[in-house]
Amino acid sequence: MAYEVNGTTVEHDEEGYLTDLNDWSEQIALEIAKNQQLEMNEERWEVVNFLRNYYDEYQVAPAVRVLTKALAKTMGPEKGNNKYLYELFPYGPAKQACMIAGLPKPTGCV
Amino acid sequence: MTTLHIVNKSPFEKNAMESCLGHALDGDAILLFEDGVYGALSNTRIANEISRRAGAVKFFVLGPDLNARGLGDGRIADGITVVDYSGFVDLVTTHGRTQSWL
């Protein structure tokens, strides 16, 4: 299973998570989002970039409650809450935002 | 609440038994099983430490693991009680906490 972008193919698992997170690019992110029936806008990019930075720093995709707490701290309570995140990513910020960010499925995401 | 410590590594290969003895408090129990049963032999370099602590700490060894390794009762250091599987279960239920030394 693979995403195809500009003639290159990038492997993903059965759920859609990238097999190798080094394959990620903004083009791939747009393709994954399209597969999830999501259009990338500024708000979604903000969360995706936050996740990529968090992973870069800690080598782990944060659990949802950790994500909301961290977003609340850096971007304010109007963005650091479940309602906001689920409006952006209806099937779950952990699942969809991490997938678009090219990260593995969050540990403890059940 | 006292602790049942369980050790399944030979003290001659790993430091699990030694570390366990270093952290077990008076009133605790230590059960040796699998390769941990080699720690129950008499005349070894750790037998002295066991007899020094025996009384304050209760020592047990799992009989089926002794028998499997050809270690009869006569080879076991003084102060160590041989138990069977149901004795193991009794020890778990009579201690508030079980801690494994892997």
Partner: protein, 135 residues
């Protein structure tokens, strides 16, 4: 939920040589969702798990040491490290990563998570727990 219990994860193995350290870390991350009081203990070779300067690039395996620094976000704020184990291995607290948490009850002040304890103190920490998970 019933009353929160005190869980202690006891880490006694070096990282990379066996899967214990990584498995322990993953269980901590998963377990943190259950709102219990979780602390970590590093004893014997377990102290090598949080040594600074780990670099696994040429090994081709993931360097999971940065993840310990994320545990404060997960409410895991106590890393008990046994001094005897450090001493035996020629290490001091300076050889460990800087691991901190933000104290929500103190204006999010950043505080160190690592608490170096003697073997006798570690035995008391263990006695103080409801559940001990060994790795």
């Amino acid at each position: 939920m019933s009353e929160a219990k005190k869980f202690l994860y006891v880490n006694r193995k070096a990282p990379y040589g066996t899967i214990y350290a990584l498995e322990s870390l993953e269980v901590v991350l998963i377990g943190a969702a259950f709102d219990q009081h979780v602390s970590l203990a590093f004893v014997d070779d377990g102290v090598f798990q949080i040594a600074k300067g780990q670099d696994t690039k040429s090994l081709g395996v993931k360097n999971f040491s940065p993840t310990y620094r994320a545990l404060g976000d997960y409410g895991v704020t106590k890393f008990y490290v046994e001094k005897d184990s450090l001493d035996e291995r020629g290490l001091s607290a300076d050889d460990l990563m800087e691991i901190t948490y933000e104290d929500e009850n103190d204006g999010f002040a950043e505080k160190p998570s690592i608490i170096v304890v003697t073997k006798a103190e570690m035995a008391e920490v263990m006695r103080d727990q409801d559940v001990i998970l060994s790795f």
